[in-house]
């Protein structure tokens, strides 16, 4: 009888130990279809694609800085901000989805001052839709999340305005609504919501347009300076451009794996 109890207790102790370890092993292993997910990467949201939708395994953008003329930049910024009801607020509380910035501000890690005279002085900055987005990991309400096709989405309904994502994003891609944006909108596009006070917003790679089978608005008006496509498809236009030309990304050493590539 004594030995039986002894054995029972041993088995029970091992089982309890195993049970205790289980949640941790699950945490490391789970997350999604890609092996790079789990505890180190944010899990991804499955997205149903409608019959007309443009589909990709990994959306990415290539920006040809040599083709970004002043007119193109202006048109891109204006189009994006007009269709997404992004206001223009004077002062330091402005909202931006896509904007023009100096090259040495874009590429902080290695962009020396001795560039060819005819090279681009400025380029467009927008959300990089990182493979490993810090904003998604810090969001306490999952208002910002990553879709399976790589797009880092905002659910404005769920945003509580804590601004952790703005602290997490190393690219300054996010803007906070310090006031009701409607007061600063000359025109509103009824097909897209405005935001409200206390909500963070950013570029969404025109997810609402992709669902209708349209390319992002900036790509459409960029006269070939911006190219959008599937990074996982070797035959896609973005992959061909990346294979042909030298490209750089913003702050790659941070490990966020940006998916907006710049051709210089």
């Amino acid at each position: 009888m004594n030995t039986m109890r002894r054995n029972f207790l041993k088995v029970a102790a091992v089982a309890a130990l195993g049970w205790g370890v289980r949640p941790a092993s699950k945490l490391f292993a789970s997350g999604g279809a890609e092996p790079s997910e789990g505890v180190l990467f944010a899990s991804r949201h499955t997205v149903h694609a409608g019959p007309n939708a443009l589909k990709a395994r990994r959306w990415a953008m290539v920006i040809d800085t040599t083709k970004l003329t002043k007119e193109v930049v202006e048109k891109v910024v204006q189009t994006c901000h007009a269709i997404h009801n992004v206001p223009s607020i004077p002062g330091n509380q402005n909202i931006k989805w896509i904007w023009e910035t100096r090259m040495d501000h874009l590429f902080l890690e290695d962009f020396n001052e001795y560039q060819p005279a005819d090279s681009a002085q400025t380029a467009l900055a927008l959300c990089n839709h990182c493979d490993n987005p810090p904003c998604v990991r810090v969001c306490p309400t999952k208002a910002t999340f990553q879709r399976e096709d790589g797009i880092v989405m905002m659910d404005f309904h769920r945003c509580i305005g804590c601004r952790y994502c703005m602290a997490g994003c190393p690219y300054g891609s996010r803007s906070f609504n310090f006031m009701d944006p409607r007061k600063h909108l000359a025109q509103t596009n009824a097909d897209f919501p405005t935001r409200t006070k206390g909500v963070v917003e950013k570029c969404e790679f025109c997810a609402e347009r992709l669902a209708e089978g349209k390319l992002p608005a900036c790509v459409e008006v960029s006269e070939g300076a911006m190219v959008f496509g599937d990074l996982a498809d070797p035959e896609s236009e973005v992959r061909k451009l990346l294979a042909e030309r030298f490209s750089i990304r913003r702050s790659p050493t941070l490990g966020t794996k940006p998916c907006v590539y710049y051709l210089v």
Binding site: F145, M153, A207
Partner: protein, 128 residues
Amino acid sequence: MYDKNKILTGLAVFVVFMTYPFWNNIGSAAYKAPEVEKPKIAKDCVESVAYMRTEHMQMLNEWRDEVVRDGVHEYHSKANHKVYMKSLTKTCMNCHENKDQFCDKCHATVSVNPYCWDCHVDPKGEKK
């Protein structure tokens, strides 16, 4: 019984307060559901009228989550088996054109304040 007067006065005050809504409303007209504007361009809604009347708020919440988070944009109607696009401004407001004469009529009467329009743009109402 000690403090009989105080207790009875207290009880009387309590009863008067508790029943205030009832006797205050004696003689006033009963609640009538307000007449909302019927759409001119469509005969039937995405679901039956009775269903929409009771469930439209849950339905809009589900549409919101399904569109934003799961990317599911098509709604398969259980009433007429047609497929609709899940969109407040593009589907609902396409037929119910006038927010003031449709949404607000009931919401104002029953004193609820949904915050849909804090962000979503009323397609026809912006000209005011």
